[in-house]
Symmetry: C2
Subunit: 158 residues, 2 copies
């Protein structure tokens, strides 16, 4: 292997190169990697951001409600809340009105953290969408949104 340009990614056959479902998979793989690694560098995960953002926009909520809004399974949400509360970004308290529930509340530190993550996520999204101009990004977002709506939102817990 003497030519570094040929080391990897010998071109795939035409059928695969233009197959939309495959394109989605591959692009998402890159995108997820960039986001996951970027967030890991800030001691965070995608779910952390999703939960914090949901709390800020909709106010305190039970874990089940957070699960419905974010698409994270409530079984997995337990660990997320543990991590967030261990960092002091969130508070978990039993709901006096319904003793089955925990009320999750965003703390001041959580709000600060969310600001930083907003900026970070923005720059990571920029990295993913680098080759597209503003109009094209809007196009992509609109197309994806329509697909998502058609298929019924996040696939996860319901």
């Amino acid at each position: 292997m003497t030519d570094p340009a040929e080391e990897r990614n010998t071109t795939a056959p035409a059928r695969l190169r233009t197959l939309p479902t495959r394109l989605l998979s591959l692009v998402t793989m890159h995108s997820d990697r960039i986001v996951t690694e970027g967030l890991a560098g800030a001691d965070a995960r995608k779910w952390h951001y999703a939960v914090l953002a949901t709390l800020e926009e909709n106010g305190p909520a039970s874990q089940a409600e957070l699960s419905r809004r974010t698409g994270v399974y409530r079984s997995d949400l337990v660990a997320v809340i543990n991590e967030l509360s261990a960092r002091g970004l969130v508070e978990r308290a039993p709901d006096p009105a319904d003793r089955r529930r925990n009320v999750i509340t965003l703390t001041g530190a959580g709000r600060d953290r969310l600001r930083r993550l907003d900026a970070l996520i923005g720059s990571l999204a920029d990295e993913v969408l680098a080759p597209l101009d503003a109009a094209e990004r809007d196009q992509l977002t609109a197309l994806l949104t329509r697909l998502l709506d058609h298929h019924g939102g996040h696939p996860g817990p319901g």
Copy 2:
């Protein structure tokens, strides 16, 4: 929960709903599920299709070369070739010119199978892209292709 329309997917916060990286993840999740389940119903997997298509378009190849073209790790490719050859769709033979390699060859049955999978994948892609008209599908494909090219093809083995 008496209203079936409200059972699931309480709307997510705006920040999440418009975040392109998240949209990609969610749409791909739906897409992958549809494709994977559709192929499973025909006793096939995504990788089977990728390998068969590559073999037809580029002719017989070693496993390492198939790995580069499809993006499947050569460690995982072993099982794929096993499955394909067990079904008589492919033949694995040692390469007399380079005894490290196996030459993988598409059989007649493999070609027939590929035809059926082509049709199946087409209909599954239709299902994924249902809400988009032809022009919009082209748009989406073009945008995704540019993103993929920018990030250097399939992320996998190189």
